[in-house]
């Protein structure tokens, strides 16, 4: 594939990743607002089931939803600038990747912390806490973690064809 086509493909890809972040962010935001601050509750989801686990599964959390929306907006704007060939796109892609990487890292760190919480009691001679299914907590199937590798692929491909 020629340079021009690959660049265009990467631009569209980044734009699409941004839209996915926006989509899942809005689901979490709306679901969170309804579930938290109104007497009603909804469970909006848009994932596929794998061995009984929904991937990605969105948490009803307005703050987390807001964060995903912000990441989405950064990638969408970056993708738009890429399509137009503006050099500013580098900044948008980098900041988008840093924030999405932070969110993904946070999901992993929280999962690890919850695992530790179940495992330390024997050190003090206490009963081992139930090692429940970490997948059910939803941190490993959160869109913030699932979408990051996809964003990273777009970023690395872009850096390869257009180094700063």
């Amino acid at each position: 594939m020629g340079f021009f086509n690959l660049a265009k493909l990467v631009s569209l890809y980044v734009y699409f990743i941004g839209l996915l972040y926006l989509f899942y962010g809005f689901i979490g935001l709306i679901d969170g607002i309804i579930s938290w601050w109104t007497p009603w509750s909804v469970n909006l989801q848009a994932g596929f089931s794998l061995a009984g686990t929904l991937i990605p599964s969105v948490k009803a959390d307005p703050f987390r939803g807001f964060v995903l929306v912000v990441i989405g907006l950064i990638f969408v704007k970056g993708g738009r600038y890429l399509i137009k060939g503006k050099p500013d796109s580098w900044g948008y892609l980098t900041v988008g990747l840093i924030i999405s990487g932070t969110v993904a890292g946070l999901n992993l760190a929280i999962t690890l912390a919850h695992l530790l919480d179940k495992l330390y009691p024997p050190l003090l001679g206490l009963k081992v806490n139930d090692l429940h299914n970490l997948m059910k907590e939803g941190w490993l199937t959160d869109p913030g973690l699932i979408l990051f590798p996809l964003a990273l692929i777009g970023y690395l491909t872009y850096r390869k064809i257009k180094p700063l």
Partner: protein
């Protein structure tokens, strides 16, 4: 080397000349450099204004300076300080372009700043970073806090009966004993460590200055300068250095406003209270609940500032001119060093102020009122009587006398609240969740957390405010904090109840 005289645009030079003519009439001022004084007066430099104010022609000089400042403000639509800074940067760019070859290379800092300082995305990115800090602090520190809580519980149970003296044993290792309270406070060391770790990353990366810059536009609308954001972020750690950091804010009125609103920013000590309660009552969304408290704190700080500026200090907010540092990849060594230095302060505080506060609480819980006999029944103790005496005032907030009593000692240091709770309920950190959730509803506790967020700053913060602004303002901060805390907590409790929340 040839001396280069900086020449501003015609409009500004005209203003400088007019002020300079007045300054030259006073010999002592002219000796300092009449042009320099004129420029400083145009920039509103407080020290130069004070120096001029003591001269013979002060009235005339300051009047002309004020007229020229206003004229420039109207002509450029910006504060004269910003206009002069812009002009100087223009001159610097001209000189650089004459002495360097080629075009200016765009740096990663320039490109990243386009996003971080974006007119629309800047503030959402700032809130995203705040969210990440609290999620990281709350969720990742939790197993370490739980471990320490269980550890102190284990020690307490093993030391019970060690002294052979039932009175001393009960005071030190009993359910209402000192070790129980201190252990509860110390079990939050990891939480403090993780918070300072995150703040150190922000500081060392160069983002902190950007946060101030990004928030400047919003804060200016409520009469605060963006620089106040730096003291507010410092306040996330501790309000004492945050109050002192307001010294870097130019403008007496801006400094005053930034100082009196700072206690509304929740410090790490209050975070320990929030963490304990949020994990008990809002498991799964504890980080979000705590973030909501931080947002309430920031929003109230902005509202108080707006009211204060409209009612009392009606002057203009000084402009925000700041050189932004380059972004750096923080080193682990430097982050750990910063984090440890601050965490060590918390541990030292636990061994001094908090220990003394908890000792007082523990003794008062073992003394009966009015007989003053040594007892093991907290319900008949001096502290219970104190709590019950002021409880009717807090009954509308949905509290019982125990919650009321635990707040009293928070004035010493906010960590004392959780230590006191541990003593008042006779449980360690490890068993606190079960005990509290059997007594209160999430709405009662949220209203309590909001009260803790706003009411009286700790004694060290009050002393810092008095040192910086005088006792009048320290007292004002204490009183308005109490009143505001009561009103907001009441509104949340009544509003929540009316909406059907429990």
């Amino acid at each position: 080397m040839e001396r280069v005289k900086v020449r501003y645009s015609e409009n500004i030079e005209e203003a400088i000349s007019r002020i300079e003519r007045e300054v030259m009439r006073e010999e002592s001022l002219a000796k300092l450099g009449s042009r320099w004084i004129a420029i400083k007066l145009l920039e509103g430099d407080e020290e130069v204004r004070a120096r001029v104010a003591s001269s013979k022609f002060a009235n005339k000089i300051l009047k002309v300076a004020s007229e020229e400042r206003e004229r420039l403000r109207r002509a450029y639509g910006l504060d004269p300080e910003v206009v002069l800074a812009n002009e100087r940067y223009k001159i610097i760019e001209e000189i650089v372009s004459k002495v360097t070859k080629g075009t200016k290379r765009v740096t990663p800092t320039d490109l990243i700043d386009k996003v971080i300082l974006d007119k629309y995305l800047g503030i959402p990115i700032f809130f995203t970073i705040l969210w990440a800090i609290f999620e990281f602090t709350m969720e990742v520190s939790s197993p370490f806090c739980d471990f320490l809580g269980d550890f102190f519980n284990w020690i307490s149970s093993h030391l019970s009966g060690l002294t052979g003296n039932p009175m001393l044993d009960s005071l030190l290792f009993g359910d209402y004993g000192l070790l129980n309270g201190l252990g509860t406070v110390l079990s939050f060391v990891p939480l403090i460590f993780f918070l300072y770790f995150s703040l150190a990353i922000l500081e060392d990366s160069g983002y902190m200055a950007r946060a101030a810059f990004v928030m400047d536009r919003l804060m200016r609308k409520v009469g605060l300068t963006g620089r106040a954001m730096i003291s507010m972020i410092v306040g996330f750690g501790c309000n004492v250095p945050a109050v002192y950091s307001t010294r870097a804010i130019p403008g007496e009125e801006d400094r005053l406003v930034a100082t009196i609103i700072n206690p509304l920013i929740p410090c790490s000590a209050r975070l320990t209270v929030f963490s304990l309660l949020a994990y008990t009552f809002f498991k799964g969304v504890a980080g979000d609940v705590i973030l909501s408290l931080y947002l309430i704190g920031i929003a109230l700080a902005l509202i108080v500032s707006l009211i204060f500026r409209r009612v009392y200090l009606k002057g203009r907010t000084s402009p925000f001119v700041m050189e932004l540092p380059l972004y750096q990849l923080p080193t682990l060594k430097s982050i750990l060093l910063h984090t440890w230095n601050r965490t060590a302060l918390f541990i030292r505080k636990a061994g001094t102020v908090i220990l003394a506060g908890l000792l007082a609480v523990s003794v008062l819980m073992h003394i009966a009122w009015p007989s003053l006999a040594w007892i093991n029944d907290v319900n008949a103790s001096v502290i219970a009587e104190m709590g019950k005496a002021i409880w009717p005032l807090f009954k509308p907030l949905g509290w019982d006398w125990r919650l009321t009593a635990s707040c009293i000692f928070g004035f010493i240091a906010k960590e004392v609240i959780i230590g006191s709770m541990s003593l008042l309920y006779g449980v360690s950190e490890a068993n606190m969740a079960t005990k509290l959730s059997s007594l209160y509803t999430p709405l009662q506790i949220y209203s309590f957390m909001v009260f803790t967020l706003i009411y009286i700053p700790c004694i060290a913060t009050v002393a810092a405010i008095a040192h910086e602004r005088g006792w009048k303002w320290a007292l004002f901060t204490v009183l308005y904090g109490l009143a505001l805390a009561y009103v907001v907590a009441l509104l949340i409790y009544l509003g929540g109840s009316a909406l059907g929340f429990r």
